[in-house]
């Protein structure tokens, strides 16, 4: 056993496709590390995952990993149409990197996952799969969208079951980290949120990370899967969405109620990360993808 030389250990990052987000993340999603994105449905988790899978194919000089990706999805159906749409805009803005008849979607390997045990099974087969991929375009990104869906229904709420669930977390995380280290992969995992109700939320009210509390759609939430899973990831990002009133329109002269113009305000927060300070930025989702907004 010899120690690794820190001077030769560079943490490579995969660009998100947006320079503002990249700046927030100090380059992008890091390799040899598990990054978790927590958000409620419709906040943009899958958008980021798809976008990252495409941008991982960019050459290293442009922030990518020159790699293909393995996309494990647990919610159905897989958004093929949206991927295709993103792919078109990706191709048009990065045409010089790819040959004419090339389809970046060819380098995204999609696999559906049904249960936690199924995931473990898949991961044992992933080793040879990634090994073989080295011959063509190596796999350097694994996306799991979402991890929460695998655990929400299978386990009762008894201490014994919860303990069994916890050890599965550590088993999965351990395997993912071993894969990440062996092949220098970036791992992106998405997670859902649960509502916090009432003043005594118990363990869910425990503060983890930079934010006292996570707010989205006007509700207080916390990431699903609890403290145990929080110990399994290296970095956690939170996407929030809220409706904000921009201005009033059609104000009537007698002061009666009028129409409000609402806008979806989306923000990305760094909840915890070993290399990032507490920070956040606004972003928007367009046809071309997910991009940060500078105000």
């Amino acid at each position: 056993m010899t120690p690794q030389s820190l001077l030769q250990l560079t943490s490579q990052k995969c660009t998100t496709g947006c320079p503002i987000l990249d700046r927030l993340l100090y380059g992008g999603i890091p390799c040899d590390s598990i990054t978790e994105i927590v958000a409620e449905s419709g906040s943009g988790k899958t958008q980021i995952c798809l976008q990252l899978s495409l941008h991982a194919q960019l050459p290293v000089s442009h922030g990518g990993l020159a790699a293909s990706s393995l996309y494990l999805h647990t919610e159905f159906p897989f958004p093929f149409r949206r991927l295709h749409q993103l792919c078109l805009s990706f191709r048009s803005s990065n045409a010089h990197h790819f040959p004419v008849n090339d389809n970046p979607c060819d380098r995204i390997f999609v696999q559906s996952v049904h249960t936690a045990d199924h995931l473990l099974e898949i991961m044992s087969k992933t080793d040879p799969f990634i090994e073989n991929s080295k011959n063509q375009v190596p796999v350097r990104l694994i996306v799991i969208d979402s991890i929460a869906a695998l655990f929400r229904s299978d386990f009762d709420n008894t201490p014994v079951e919860l303990k069994r669930r916890s050890s599965l977390f550590f088993k999965i995380s351990s395997k993912l980290k071993a894969l990440a280290k062996r092949f220098n992969l970036a791992v992106l995992v998405t997670n859902q949120v649960v509502d916090l109700v009432g003043p005594n939320e118990g363990i869910n009210g425990l503060r983890i990370g930079n934010l006292v509390c996570l707010h989205t759609s006007g509700r207080r939430v916390c990431p699903a899967l609890g403290l145990a899973w929080a110990n399994c990831v290296n970095s956690r990002l939170f996407l929030s969405r809220n409706e904000e009133v921009i201005r009033e329109e059609n104000e009537k002269s007698n002061g009666q109620s009028c129409d409000f113009v609402k806008k979806k305000m989306r923000k990305l927060y760094v909840v915890f990360a070993p290399h990032l300070p507490e920070s956040s930025c606004e972003f928007e989702i367009t046809r071309e993808g997910l991009f940060g907004v500078e105000r």
Binding site: M1, P3, Q4, S5, L6, L7, L9, T10, S11, Y26, P30, D32, S33, I34, P159, S166, S167, F170, K171, S174, K177, A178, A180, K181, N200, G202, I203, L206, R207, I208, G209, N210, V212, L227, A228, A230, N231, V233, N234, R236, V271, F272, P274, H275, P277
Partner: protein, 377 residues
Amino acid sequence: MEIWRLPISASQRGKLISSGYTSLSSLSSISSSDLARELKVSESEAMNILKVASHSRGSETSNASCSIVEGAQSAWDMLHDEESLMHITTSSADLDNILGGGIHCKEVTEIGWSSLSLIVNSVLKYKLTTAFSSESIIFMLIGGVPGIGKTQLGIQIAVNVQIPNDFGGLGGKAIYIDTEGSFMVERAFQIAEACIEDMSEYNRFLRKDFQECKIKMLPQDILENIFYFRICSYTEQIALINYLDKFLSEHKDVKVIVVDSVTFHFRQDFDDMALRTRVLSGMALKLMNLAKRFSLAVVLLNQVTTKHTEASFQLALALGDSWSHTCTNRIVLYWNGNERYAYIDKSPSLRSASAAYSVTARGIRNSSSSCKRIKMM
């Protein structure tokens, strides 16, 4: 009693004991002619006995204290050693204060780097001596929720241990065992850079006292002195800790071992929980022995889990009570409002106290809030 172990004849042994010579120390200051007279044996025989006795005492000459039980030290010697101990400073003055100056090289604790005032404090307070004894080192657990700053603390310690002697540091190297993949080189570089900047500022501040203290260190040098091991399973973890014996005998300048985190790989399904307890206590014992033999500090970062009591939940260090109790020093990191706090949960030598700290771009520093107070329990 060591007399029993001396390779002398039974009759000689019997004569020694009946004459009142029951320990090796009692033979240290007597001449051979006196001994011959006392034991009623020939002078050559007495000389032989003395030679054998001094031979078996040989390995302890460096410590000079005579002891009845091998390896023991008188309390006075221990106090003397404690006072001349080197400390690894944390970067937070408040943390250092509750820790009696910083992390002892005998005890493992968590600590960060201090601000300029703390560097000055630690230099003026403690003798700039490199003498510290080879007494047993107790290791310390540091536990906290994700995002509280355990890894930051670990990196800070690995950087701080390298502060040269001239600045009140240990000038040693560090072993960093990363079990989770949380160690980011760029962050370590950032912290190392800030540490060197602090030292330069201190140098400028005290220029009249330290003439030759030029900061020739570069962040790259600091990174080079951190021996980084990445392990991916509990078997690798055990194997590495077993291997450290050999590694440390080849790298005697290592002064701290940081394990981040010691719990991660043990939280999977162990079919046999008794096996897990055995493995864990074996590992703890090995680490304690390493600390003792090589005079270094051992810092173990621990995850936390929930303990379900009747009404609600309680946070507890992961891996169970028996694991927590193997470590005589424990620090818990927690959130108090918007501040990060470190609380000495248990220590044989320090009072229970808590202090605030913060994680900044430069590493661990004093908490910036003006109403921070060290709370003694």
